[in-house]
Amino acid sequence: MNRIISRKTFHIVWTTVLITLLALFFLFPLVWMIVSSMKPEQQIYNNISNFKAFLPSANISEWGKAYSSIFHRFNVFRYILNSVFYAVSLTIGSLLVNSLAGYGFAKYKFTGRKLIFGLLIAMLVIPGATLLIQQFQVAKTIGILNTPLAVILPGMSSPFYIYMFRNAFAEIPDSVTEAAELDGASNLRIFWNILLPMTMPTVATVGTLSFIGSWNDYVWPLMVLTNSDQFPLQVAITNINNTQPVYMNQVMSILTISTVPLILVYIFFQKYLVQGMGSAGNGDK
């Protein structure tokens, strides 16, 4: 009996130690970034080779200094607003476009459905970077360069999200749709009031992933925007990092600011992220 318990305890101990080490390994750049934003620049370099690298400045009044200076030097508030605007618009758009497309593929029978869906799946294997030039040409042709639309529109539809929504809708028995139809609901109402609420996990997953994707996007906004007033945070950070003089603690502070929304999103939607990714949108089961 004793041996069994000790084996169990041993198992718990060594897995905990391993997991903690792994977590620390992933956390340390993040911690370093946050504490570095909370000390004068000189201290960052002085502390770099000892454990103090992971401690903020001993002087509490120093903690917010990098933040206030970066807000003073650059229009950070504007960049944050831009990023929020792009990410929220893109997320709402992505949910609408992809869920409607998924609904179409799941619940309507039309000529060429299989072919189009097959092409869509095939597109999953094409790396996004190879499409940048063409997308840029399209954006240029329709004349949306240097407008927020250029950032938002191309990111809205995604084969993967359509695929997730299609699977989620396909899981719902047709009889539910038919019952709503007999209850007098129009197609759009069936979609909005019945089917979409039944796929909430997928909605949450796609929403979260879209938000994160837009928030983190760097290359595309950089390509389509030239006016720095329209820059999202990620592009602005590069700008800040390239504008002399560069203060490391200020760079770290703006990086910290850019990470906060992601951490919040992860905390609130982690459940759905794991669920949604695990089942690739297997409906509401």
Binding site: P173, V176, E178, A179, L182, D183, S186, N193, M198
Partner: protein, 369 residues
């Protein structure tokens, strides 16, 4: 309360070779409870779905109160339907499930509440109105599905195997409830099932279907007592009717193996003779309940007695089902529990020949009238 007419209705699915429903003719009277019954794939659900508007009608006309409805959208047909898998909206409470259709039809809030309270009273759902479907048992869910249909006050109810997802005991209770609801509301109802007991107990008229074609339309007793053909005779009644290939000679029927040789009652014999079946082969059908083992019967009708060995016997409490072999086929008899016999036992059984049915050997149509 409305009248429903189906005239020469056909259904063929895209890419299908054959018609799923062929030349379907039926006229349903107001307040009638019609049951479509038949084996899987007989077209009963397809027909129901055509009435609901969920499937297109390939050929023929479908009328409600004399108005052709072929191309009317489901939502404009004013039909309420109950599905086999309940088809409830899982994210809505029981109350909202029932209110959904009413809200869409712009019924006032107080009116909706009144209707839902009344329906939930009938169905015993009052205390569950705030729950979501996931927190209900199968029977309760089916009740909500019924409630959703009731509150609509639609003149037509369609029910697509509503009880087949429930366990046997609950099915019997719900069957009685459906009958009760129909007595109260008198809504014209079309009910699809493959369970002949449900058909017998609920229907005003039964429509027996096979391979997309109507085999017989009639009251439960008509379908039971005067089956139109071998299929209907075999499908209605449990256990199923026993069939023998027999030959009629000198007023007697005998099977091909010579296991029995029984006189045919005069009335039936005359009909068969008039139709020219004397000396011909026919199919004879006898229901398990018309095979007797009581001593009194065996003594009264000594010429009707057959002998066989019991293969399987099932004691059901009030009665016994004996499985024997006779004339090269299985003979099932439903007898009194006192006449229980163990497998291997030799038994004497008497055929109640007045209740026997005769069918043509080739067309399998009835020869009784």
């Amino acid at each position: 309360m409305v009248k429903i007419d189906l005239d020469h209705v056909y259904k063929k699915y895209d890419n299908a070779k054959n018609y799923s429903v062929k030349d379907f003719n039926l006229h349903i009277n107001p307040q009638e409870f019609i049951v479509f019954v038949g084996p899987s794939g007989c077209g009963k659900s397809t027909t129901l779905r055509m009435i609901a508007g969920l499937e297109d009608i390939t050929k023929g006309t479908f009328k409600i109160d004399g108005k052709v409805m072929n191309d009317v959208a489901p939502k404009n047909r004013d039909i309420a339907m109950v599905f086999q898998n309940y088809a409830l909206y899982p994210h809505m409470t029981v109350y909202d499930n029932m209110a959904f259709g009413l809200k869409l039809n712009k019924v006032s809030k107080s009116e909706i509440d009144k209707k839902i309270q009344k329906a939930s009273e009938i169905l015993g759902l009052k205390e569950y109105l705030k729950r979501k479907p996931a927190a209900l048992s199968g029977g309760q869910r089916q009740r909500v599905a019924l409630g959703r249909a009731i509150v609509r006050d639609a003149p037509i109810f369609l029910m697509d195997e509503p009880l087949s997802n429930l366990d046997a005991k609950l099915r019997v209770t719900m069957r009685a409830e459906i009958a009760k609801i129909h007595q109260q509301l008198k809504t014209t109802t079309i009910y699809v099932t493959h369970d002949q007991t449900e058909a017998m107990t609920l229907a005003d008229r039964i429509v027996v279907l096979k391979d997309g074609q109507i085999q017989q339309v009639g009251t439960p007793m008509e379908v039971y007592n005067k089956p139109a053909n071998v299929f209907v005779a075999g499908f209605i009644g449990s256990p199923a009717m026993n069939f023998f290939n027999v030959k009629l000679e000198n007023g007697l029927v005998h099977d091909i193996n010579g296991d029995f040789n029984i006189p045919v009652p005069e009335g039936k014999l005359n009909i068969l003779k008039d139709k020219g079946y004397d000396g011909q082969e026919l199919i004879m059908g006898i229901r398990p309940e018309d095979v007797h083992t009581e001593q009194v019967f065996l003594e009264s009708f000594p010429h009707n007695v057959v002998e066989s060995t019991v293969v399987v016997s099932e004691l059901l409490g009030s009665e016994t089902q004996l499985y024997t072999n006779l004339g090269g086929t299985e003979l099932v008899s439903k007898v009194d529990a006192r006449d229980f016999a163990k497998p291997g036992a030799h038994v004497k059984m008497g055929f109640e020949m007045n209740k026997v049915h005769f069918f043509d050997k080739d067309s399998e149509e009835t020869l009784d009238n």
